[in-house]
Amino acid sequence: MKLFGLRKNNARWLLLLVGCLLLFPVRSEAYAGPGAGFAVLSSFWTIFVAFLYSFYALLTWPFRQLLRFRRRRKAYGKALIKRVVIVGFDGMDPELADRFMAEGRLPHFAQLREKGTFCPLRTTFPAISPVAWSTFQTGVNPGKHNIYDFLARDLSNYLPFLSSAQIKEPKRRLRIGKYSLPLGKPEIKGMRRGTPFWHWLGKAGVFCSVIRVPVTFPPEKFPGVLLSGMCVPDLKGTQGTFCLCSTRVQGDKFREGGVRIPIQRNGAKFHSYIPGPENPLGTGSELRLPFEIHPDAKRNRARISVDSENVTLNVGEYSEWIPVKFSAGLGFTAHGICRFYLKEISPELEVYVTPVNIDPGRPDLPISHPVTYSMYLAKLFGPYATLGLAEDTWALNEKVLDDDAFLAQCYSNHDDRERMFFDSLEKTPQGLCTCVFDTTDRVQHMFWRYLDENHPAVKDVPRDQRPKVIHDLYARMDRLIGRVMEQIDDKSLLLVISDHGFKSFARGVNLNAWLHQNGYLVLQDGKNESGDWFEDVDWSRTRAYTMGLNGLYLNIKGREREGVLSAGAESEALKEDLRGKLNGLVDPASGKVAITGMFNCDVIYAGPYVENAPDLIVGYGAGFRASRDSVMGKVTGTVFEDNIKAWSGDHCVDPRLVPGVLFSNRKITAEKPAIVDVAPTILKMFGLDLPTHFDGKPWTIAKAG
């Protein structure tokens, strides 16, 4: 045996000697140096802090319990349930679930169906995640929570902004030479209105764990823990900007969600950088973090050095999350995490870098409530993706990532979230535990092409070679539900819900082009097409336009900057005109109906924020969706086009075509259950009175057994 390179006898003597020194200390050797000091101090400190907490907790526990007793008695005293577990699968489709259950792929879902409930869950108008999940959490229609799409439009300039949250610069700054020092933190304003139902529960003394429910950024204070989900920005403040570092000489931007960064050669080393946020010192420049790449062509791998981290990757391999720090000077830094993916090493060198996520261990913006909750999860499980739309669909769409690389990224994030969710389940033996998994949505968006036999994006792929990605996805979620069912008892109510279903997105409809061709939208003289975001649109002659996924807007005087229509009769007449012409619009190439419903927002919404809603909601038919150009406010020459991108499935269609799912371990009685009913149902299960402004109606849930 060798111990630290010593022979057995010597090692024995060494151990004996050390043992003697420890057993019989005299004056000078009583202290054995920083090594022992650190160990003793650190462990002592841990125990000390733990016991300080214990002492505090034990000392105050009776008082806190007394204080909460009344509220708890009120909550749990009337409660019909001990715990509610809500598992959200974004975009899980009831038709597919039914089909896969029939094929025997989803035994646990089938078990829920047999013993409890399975039915479609009506979604919102429009059937878009931020809208539907906002309704889920507030129990009201969009007219009361103010979220109508990912994007909203700025009436002063017809440009879009993120509908869920706004991050503004600190109001006060101090100018010193070329620098402008921010005095204070950025102002983060949540745009979603209404009160999430876990606030009502928390106030009543019911503990709630809420993980990655969309549109919970910025996190709001309530008595419970919450990790924000969809709409959390990356460190640049965008909804995700990947970068592709490459030795290939090409343009610097992708159409969607990414930038190209050149890799410079310097001898055997290669240099590039990660683009970061804008310099907070007001220099107007972008912060950059340089990194080095040391390729090893023989072994088909490369070592990447960034900050003090070194990581060696084989081609086609991701790194773990790497902490990165962007320094602005004068002590201003921004902390993030990112992953590297070695895409290619020869003949060209290409490295993909994920969007730089906010570091959950030391968040520069709050992404959880309390702020320590994201840190707790990071300490417990290691760094994890915090970006709202963490699965880089744009990179797959732009063919920067291939199918396998994208799926690896998706499931890596998903595994992290599963760990968080099961920890939350363990930590919430009583109360509400809810978690939304995005993977279902992202994977269906990107791989529906293999499910739709005639999808134009996979015309060249033989049918027998199309992978069963979505089949595997559903089976994976089934296993997750199986694990949940193992961990809950009869006193827990399990709800598995989705915000909407899915349909194929085979044909894009440029509604701006249709409006242009039919004289509702007018371009400046001499122009046949526009740039993005209505560049070259003549607003003084334009009556209607569309941006975002389902909203159609009228250009109304006194509302839009250059409105031309009078509010009232003239606008209503135009609405009816458009509804009449667009409802039933047929795609001449396929003969299919591209628009199956045009919904008047004055009719479908009610509430104080209706004025921010679009004027009409466009309900596309199955197989159709707004084209990318149309979403980005661009007028093109053609109305219909094949969708040949990987983003091949969608739900931004007629909401009646894409209900979500509702599974439960108990029998639920309800007439056409809808996602808006979830909040009142949960409050009712915990015995709380329902707020009068709720739009949803509580379901009747049978007792266990």
């Binding site: 054995a32 140096g33 920083p34 320590t372």
Partner: protein, 271 residues
Amino acid sequence: MVVVSIAVSSLWVMVTPARETGPALLVVAISVIIGLLMVLVFRYTSDQNAIRRTKDQLKAHLLAVRLFQDQLQVVLRAYARILGGTGRYLRLAFTPLLIVILPLTFLIVELDRYLGWQPLQPAQAFLVEVRVDTPQALNQVALQLPPELAISAPPVHIEKDKEVVWRVVANREGRYNLSIVGAGQPASKQVTVSEGLARVSPIRLRDSFWERILSSAEPALPNDSLIRSIAITYPPRNVTLAGWKFNWIVLFFVISLVAGFIFKTVLRIQV
């Protein structure tokens, strides 16, 4: 011990400027250097990833106590995990501790000979304490001094302790050997008289292996001698820093620890 002496000599050279300015700065300089060396040793002898993971888990369980404070069973489970994690952390820290403890102990022992005691001053009286095997031997021993040292009082016999004590005074600076005769082989003992910082050996021992290694800087007394030990009462040294008097070990402990914490942060070493 040779290695330790070389290490101390090297350290001595490294801290030459501090040596000139007095023991306080010397202790500070030595502590900082040793703090740095120790974190480096810790870095290369420990499983840094495992320590990082364990510390993170401990922090997570601490946070769990706060986050889920109303869920009693969750809090109790978190405490159990904190205790388990602390045990795991101590186990991970034990390997580098094992490697560090021996050289560091000897280094401190050697440094203590310089910094733990003040050498005698000229004209300063001190005691020579000789301990023998039997009370009868007390009458047999006699003290022989070099010309620079002189007995300033007759010897005192303490039969209970089998000890005889002389009061001696030195005339001038230097390193001298006094001899004890009449109890088997003659035995000598080094006496250091100096105004500055010098290596002193407060005791010479016949047996007591560990005590000899750790307390004496002189070879063992002959085995057939009746003398068990010869001790000189050097005054202990206190180091004055910012108006406060400290035992150098205390100062060393605090400063090396602070330096270690600073270096571990700068060098991103998990401790």
